[in-house]
Symmetry: C2
Subunit: 481 residues, 2 copies
């Protein structure tokens, strides 16, 4: 094993692998097209030597890759080529690859598999992994898999499937190594040496009594550096973080971030150890969370397969487009109320989007601040008033500054100082509206048990649009027309 | 150590600690107000028994908390109370707490400290941690700290400070444990037992030759489960992930996610081991990244201390507000071009925000999809055309569906089938504009070496606003007026 070879291998990024696979697929396509032009029947094509060599090369390439990298490549391919590649992957890796693929892409892969293939793929997985796949599998497949499990595994699977999506239970796995508190490190070392390998992310052993009640944790580092004659009970940590299956996953993720954890025990209400959460599950959770925040902000319902059909993509986007159009319609009717004023002073039509726009922008800034601080639990009753005051003052400042600038613009453009004053007043008022609702909307949503990150942005924009039009056109009608 | 006590401690969340600290601070404030009303001079107040007891209780509470939790509480407090708490924290924990605080809050804490205090706080930290703090410290402090370091540490500090913010070098620490390949596991075990403790996140030992060139990695699990007589060279993994200091941190983070890593070695161009990256640094990086994406999308320049002064907050928000106002001004001038048409047909003023709105919404959906896929490296030349086609088809579908609905609305409201047709055509065209620019903008930004996530959203909204007004009013002028 020369270091050169090693170097070369580890330097190849997954993007490079993707490019290679794409190049091989293009060759494959060219051969097919050639054959097609010569009107060769399909079954003969499959026999072609070039064709077979080509696919063998592709299969070879895929076999070298980590399951996560295969999933990544599948996600980047259009449906037809995705299925060519999927059928070249060794069957015994199907389960792991499905697990790594995004929800949308996983569905396209599962749709292409026979029930027996799915059962075979699923059976290779751990129970917590089966629980992750289960929602996407046909019922008959789950039943078959369930039959093949041991009693203990069935219990675990049933438990894992029972926890809500954003709970600690959903992040949990069952790969814990447990020891007793009254043994020496020597005994622990001998016990470990009997195992084939330690489960991934085993940075600590869990110390339990005979009833599986968690007594403490023993970091692997301590096992390695201390005198083998010492007792576990003297070395274990008793005040380490412990989670419960029904805890909020977001809070657990914050604990991992704050205390730099690699794993944490999960105990039930009686203190019995039921599983553990690893940082790998937490990293995936954090990434999913931030992805869905981004997607929701942009008005996408869920993660989209970039090569899904037009029809499916359109459905994914309609919910939010529809909401947005309803709010746009309301804003339009607000303008409709003042058509008489606009007819008399058409400058109003040109200026009104500025008033609405600055309100929306500023309101979204406030809401983002508040939603973030709320997610971290940093907003309490005691400081809510101070926050509102601060946001209102910033809006007043912004309103006076930007309002004056645009007031002067409006005055110069339309030669009316009264119009300039109305412009400035409307901008300031709409900014104050934006600040108030920017603070109130997330707080109200939180109060009623809803996630303040979802929909707050649409709501504030609706309010500042309709509000901005109403304030500006209303003031203009009172003072100018 | 009874399990009950243990349980109680680990069950207390950081939010509960925050509430307790806030309650203690409120008591403190009440005493001060009482004293103030009695016109007692301040130095006598400090002598008051109640006052002293109160602060002692607060100090006691703070001493129990993890540095990360203290930082969290400091972030949630208004400036005045933040500094009261900060001065009660034991001086020997200052460094760690500064490290955990957000940039904005850290600045307020550093501003309150004397240079000697800062030097003392910084000297307790590791060199990679000092490098993290350095940008916020006064130059004289850095020089003093630098003088106190060993030659090796100075070298590390200089290296750590030299890497750009989003590189692997910036995430790196220097806590690696190295072994030679030609020794037995027995020797490794004896070597480890001589250490006081393993560094956090040591899930693998790094195998190097006498020139510090990395040969492979040896997972701790293998050390524990295998026969002590075996050689390191037979057990080490040679094809594990290895990073380089100038690699993109985002790519490293993706490797950690994909391969579920806890730590990874960092090597220079000669293959020499220079440091390691741990999952703790990666988790912080991922959270920071997603935070700044959110903040940028909402038009906030950077993370904001929720209790910063109105003036500072306003500055943080002005860059994007200003950009937004410029684009709103341009849109306003586009409308200005068509004032004649609006005067003749005032319904146009009421309907035009709908056309602009749906374009902005749909364009942002497209851009979010593309930016995400680009961040994952899944967009290549070979599939760009397929993507653009898909987005254009979705837009066409949306335009025909929603355009018809709003066309009918417009027709019914204003009794003009021609207006309805213009409405439908304008919505469809603006959606096609949104889809094209939604694909092109991020690709062009990427081509010119800019981060497509920053500013794309503002740009697309500007285009769909001005474009929507132009298309709708233009069509109306041609066919209706």
């Amino acid at each position: 094993m020369s270091p050169e070879v090693d170097e070369a291998k580890s330097q190849e990024s997954v993007q490079q692998s993707l490019q290679q696979v794409m190049a091989l697929l293009q060759k494959h396509r060219l051969v097919e097209q050639l054959v097609h032009r010569q009107d060769m029947p399909r079954h003969e094509l499959v026999e072609t030597l070039v064709h077979r060599q080509n696919l063998a090369e592709l299969q070879q390439k895929l076999a070298e890759l980590h399951p996560a990298d295969v999933a990544y490549i599948l996600e980047a391919l259009p449906l037809e080529e995705r299925l060519i590649v999927w059928n070249l992957v060794k069957a015994d890796r199907d389960g792991e690859i499905l697990l790594e693929a995004s929800d949308a892409v996983r569905a396209t892969l599962i749709a292409d598999m026979a029930p027996e293939e799915l059962v075979a793929a699923t059976e290779q997985l751990d129970t917590d992994e089966i629980a992750d796949l289960a929602p996407d599998l046909p019922e008959e497949v789950i039943e078959d898999v369930f039959q093949a499990l041991s009693v203990e595994e069935r219990e675990q699977l049933r438990a894992a499937m029972s926890y809500p999506e954003d709970s600690v239970g959903a992040l949990m796995d069952f790969d814990m190594v447990t020891v007793r508190e009254d043994v020496t490190i020597e005994v622990v070392l001998r016990y470990l040496r009997r195992l084939d390998d330690l489960p991934d992310h085993t940075d600590q052993l869990f110390v339990v009594d005979r009833n599986e009640v968690l007594q403490g944790v023993l970091p692997i580092g301590r096992v390695l550096v201390t005198d083998p004659d010492r007792l576990v009970i003297d070395l274990m940590l008793v005040d380490a973080v412990r989670l419960k299956p029904h805890d909020d996953a977001e809070e657990a993720a914050q604990a991992f971030e704050r205390y730099d954890l690699v794993s944490a025990p999960v105990v039930d209400d009686h203190g019995q150890l039921v599983g553990r959460v690893t940082v790998a599950a937490v990293v995936d959770f954090i990434r999913d969370q931030s992805d869905s925040e981004m997607l929701n902000l942009a008005g996408l319902r869920e993660d989209e397969d970039i090569f899904s059909s037009v029809w499916k993509s359109a459905q994914n986007r309609w919910t939010w487009l529809a909401i947005n159009l309803v709010t746009a319609f309301i804003a339009s009717r607000v303008i409709g109320l003042f058509e008489g004023s606009i007819e008399k002073l058409v400058a109003l039509a040109a200026l009104m989007p500025i008033v609405a726009g600055i309100g929306g922008n500023s309101g979204n800034q406030t809401i983002t601040m508040i939603v973030r601080a709320m997610a971290l639990g940093q907003i309490q009753r005691a400081n809510a008033k101070a926050l509102l005051t601060k946001e209102l003052l910033i809006s007043l400042l912004n309103g006076l500054v930007w309002g004056s600038i645009f007031g002067v613009f409006a005055m110069l453009l339309y030669h009316s100082w009264a119009l300039g004053l109305v412009m400035m007043a409307a901008m300031t008022l709409n900014l104050l509206v934006a600040a108030s609702f920017g603070v109130f909307i997330p707080m109200l949503m939180h109060r009623f048990g809803r996630d303040p990150a979802v929909g707050s942005s649409v709501l504030i924009t609706a309010i500042t649009d309709s509000g901005g039009f109403f304030i500006f056109l209303g003031l203009a009608t009172l003072f100018l027309v």
